[in-house]
C-alpha cells in the first residue's frame, strides 16, 4: 500500500457478502455494490450447494427419491416429503386411509412450528439478540423429540410412504403432543412479551424492508413473505389438499409490507398450527395407515402431474412428467425460497446494509432449498 489513495466522491465499492457470512445462514453469496453503508446494487449468486436433486428424481425410482426431498429444507423437511408423496399418489392414483392423512397433517404442522421457532431465534440473532435463539431451540427440542419418537429421525425425516405412513403413532405420542401444545402456547406469549414489544426490535423492523404485493406477484413470492404484503394466499386454503378442509384455522395476513409484518405472520402462524394439531388429535380416526391395495412397483400412467403444498416457507410445488416407466421423465421442484429470495436484489436497493440484512432474515432463507 504505497502512494496516495485517490477517493472520488461518487466512488462505490463491491462488498462480497458470503458465501461464508454469518448473516446468510449457509452458502449464499450476495455481491453488493456499496456506497458507504448504502446498497447501490445487489446480485445474489447461487450454486454453492447445488446437489442436482431434480436430476436424481429423473434417474431413480419414485421411492428412491423420497429421502432426497427431506434434504431440501432441513428445517421443515416433512412438508417437502408430504408434497412428494401427494404428487405421486395423485399420479399413480393411490388411495390414502384417512388416519394416515390426519397423522400427516399433525406431523407437518408440528414441523412447521419447529421451523418457525428456529427462524424466530435466528432472525432475532440477525438483529443482534442472542438469547431468544436459545429459548426457541429449547422449545423446538420438545417438538423434535415428538417427531423423533414417530419418525425415527430428528431433522431429515422420511416418514411418509406412498399411500400412507412408515409406522403408526401410539398413545404416548398423542399424550405427549397434547402436553406440548399448552407449553408452546405459553412460550409464544412469552416471546411476544420479550421480543415483539421491545422498542429496539420494533424500530429496526417497522416500515423497513418494504416488499410490495406487486413485487411479490412479479417474483412469485408465496408463504409468509407474501402474506406479510397483504396477499391472502395459502395453499392449504386456496387449493386444499390432504385433510386440511376439515380443519378450522385462519390465515394471518398483514398489509404493512415491512419486516415486522412478515415477523408477525409467522408468529401468528405458529398459533394457527397449534389449533390444527389440536383439532387433528381430536378428530384422529382409527383404521389402517396403509391402503390395502397398493401397487408393488409405482408406475404412474403417462401424463403431467402437479401438486402444491404449503410448507413453512411458502408454496412448494412438484411437477412430475411421467412416461409410464418407473422413473419420472421430468421431475421439477418449485421451491418457495428460490422465488422469495430473488426479491432481495430489487428490494434492498437504497437500503443500509444492516436493514437489508434484517430484511434478508425476515425472508426466512434456507439455502439448500434454493439450490436444490
Amino acid at each position: 500500500m504505497s502512494g496516495p489513495i485517490h477517493i472520488r466522491s461518487d466512488e462505490t465499492f463491491t462488498l462480497n457478502v458470503g458465501p461464508q457470512h454469518p448473516a446468510t445462514h449457509g452458502v449464499l453469496r450476495v455481491k453488493m455494490e456499496m456506497d458507504g453503508e448504502y446498497i447501490v446494487k445487489a446480485e445474489t449468486v447461487l450454486g454453492y450447494i447445488h446437489r442436482m436433486h431434480e436430476l436424481m428424481g429423473e434417474n431413480r425410482t419414485y421411492p428412491q427419491v423420497l429421502p432426497n426431498l427431506s434434504r431440501l429444507d432441513y428445517l421443515g423437511a416433512l412438508g417437502y416429503t408430504h408434497g412428494h408423496v401427494l404428487a405421486v399418489e395423485r399420479a399413480a392414483g393411490i388411495e390414502v386411509p384417512e388416519r394416515a392423512e390426519y397423522i400427516r397433517a399433525i406431523t407437518v404442522e408440528l414441523n412447521r412450528i419447529a421451523s418457525h421457532l428456529f427462524w424466530f431465534g435466528a432472525f432475532v440473532m440477525d438483529l443482534g439478540g442472542f438469547t431468544p435463539l436459545m429459548y426457541a431451540i429449547e422449545d423446538r427440542e420438545h417438538i423434535l423429540d415428538l417427531l423423533e419418537a414417530v419418525t425415527g429421525s430428528r431433522l431429515t425425516y422420511c416418514y411418509y410412504r406412498f399411500g400412507g405412513l412408515y409406522n403408526d403413532v401410539d398413545d404416548d405420542f398423542i399424550a405427549a403432543t397434547k402436553a406440548v401444545i399448552p407449553r408452546l402456547r405459553k412460550s409464544l406469549k412469552k416471546y411476544d412479551a420479550l421480543v415483539t414489544g421491545n422498542i429496539i426490535f420494533e424500530k429496526r423492523l417497522k416500515d423497513i424492508g418494504p416488499i410490495s404485493a406487486e413485487m411479490c406477484r412479479k417474483y412469485g413470492a408465496t408463504g409468509p413473505v407474501a402474506r406479510g404484503s397483504g396477499i391472502d394466499f395459502d395453499v392449504r386454503k386456496n387449493e386444499p389438499y390432504s385433510v386440511y378442509p376439515e380443519f378450522d384455522f385462519d390465515v394471518p395476513v398483514y398489509h404493512e409490507c415491512d419486516s415486522l409484518a412478515r415477523y408477525k405472520v409467522r408468529m401468528d402462524e405458529m398459533e394457527q398450527s397449534l389449533r390444527i394439531i389440536e383439532q387433528g388429535i381430536e378428530k384422529l380416526p382409527d383404521g389402517p395407515i396403509m391402503p390395502k391395495k397398493k401397487p408393488k412397483l409405482i408406475k404412474p400412467p403417462k401424463g403431467d402431474y402437479y401438486q402444491a403444498v404449503e410448507t413453512a416457507r411458502g408454496s412448494f410445488g412438484i411437477r412430475i412428467v411421467s412416461d409410464g416407466t418407473k422413473n419420472a421423465y421430468r421431475f421439477k421442484l418449485r421451491s418457495p425460497t428460490y422465488s422469495n429470495m430473488h426479491m432481495f436484489d430489487e428490494a434492498c436497493v437504497g437500503m443500509m446494509i444492516m436493514d437489508a440484512l434484517a430484511m434478508m432474515g425476515s425472508l426466512d432463507l434456507v439455502i439448500p432449498e434454493i439450490d436444490r
Binding site: 500500500m1 465499492f13 462488498l15 457470512h21 454469518p22 448473516a23 453503508e37 432475532v124 440473532m125 440477525d126 438483529l127 443482534g128 439478540g129 442472542f130 438469547t131 436459545m134 429459548y135 429449547e138 421491545n198 429496539i200 426490535f201 424500530k203 429496526r204 443500509m352 446494509i353 444492516m354 436493514d355 440484512l357 432474515g361
Partner: protein, 328 residues
Amino acid sequence: MSLTILNALVAVVAAIAFAALNAAYLVWAERRGAGRIQRRPGPNVNGPLGLLQPPCDGVKLMAKQLMIPGGADKALFMVAPVLAMAPAIMSFVTIPFSDTIVAHSMNIGVLMIFAFASLGGMAILFAGWGSRNKYGVMASVRAVSQNISYEVPMLITVITVVMMTGTMDLKGLVAAQAGGFWNWNLMPSLSSPLMPVSFLIFFICALAETNRAPFDLGEAESELVAGFHTEYGSMGFGLFFMGEYANIVIGASLITILFLGGWDCPLGLFPGVWWFLFKIYVLIFSFIWIRWTFPRTTIYGLLNLSWKILIPISLFNLLLTAGLLKVF
C-alpha cells in the same frame, strides 16, 4: 527519591494486574452470566465452576500464530491492539478505590480518564484501516462516529457534575458525596433536580463508549462479520477483548465515582474499598444483563439518539444546573 520510584512501580504493577485479572475474569463472568440468562451452563469444565477457563483461553490465544493479512499496513495493524489495551490500563492509575488505595491522585483525574478514553477510538480506527478489510473499514468508521457522538453528551454530563461538586479530582468528587446515599450525585438536589436523568444519560453513553451491546455496531457480527477485528487472531484479538473488558471496568468505576458515591456506604457506615468493588460489579453485571437481553440498534438510530435526544437533554440539564446553582 528511590522510594517514590518504588511506589510508582508498585502502583503501576498493581494497576496492570487489576486490569488484566478483571479482563480475564469478566470474560468468564460474561460467559457464565450469558449461560444463566440463556438457560445453559456456560463454561463449566475447566476447574470448579469453569474458573480455569480464562487461563486456558489465554494460553490458547498466545500459542496461536499471529497472522498479518497480505496488503495490510503492518505498523498500524500491530499497534492497534496495544493501543486498545494501554489507555485502559493507564486510566486505572488515577482511579481511587478508597481513601488510601489510589495509584496516583491527580487534581484533574476526570479529564485524564477522558483523554485516555478517546484513544480507544483511535485503536479501532487503526485496526479497521490497517487490516485492509472492507468489513473492518466500515466497522471502524461506524465505531469512530459512535465514539465521537457519545463523548459529547458524556462530557456535558460530567461538566454538570463537576459544576455541582466544584472539583475535577476523583477523590474530591467522592468526598463531596460522603455520608449516605441521600448525598450521592444520583439523587436529585435543589440545585440540580434532573440528576437521575444525567445518571441515565451517562450510563447509556458508557455503554456506547465501550462498544457494548446494544450499541456494539463496530463488531456487528450479522452484518460486518467481526467488525474491526475481523482479521485479528491470536493475542491481537485477545488484547482487543481484554481492552474491551478493561474499558467496562473503567466505565463502571467512573459511574460509581461520579454518581454513586465511590467507596461510600449507602447508609453512611463503614465506607471502604469493598463498597467500591461491590458497586462496580453490580454495574458490570447490569452491562452483561443488557447485552444478553436486547437486540442491536441501527447506526442511524444510535446517532439520532445521541444528537437529537441525549445532547439536548444534557445541555438543558447543564443550563438548569448552572442557573439554579446561582440561586441556591
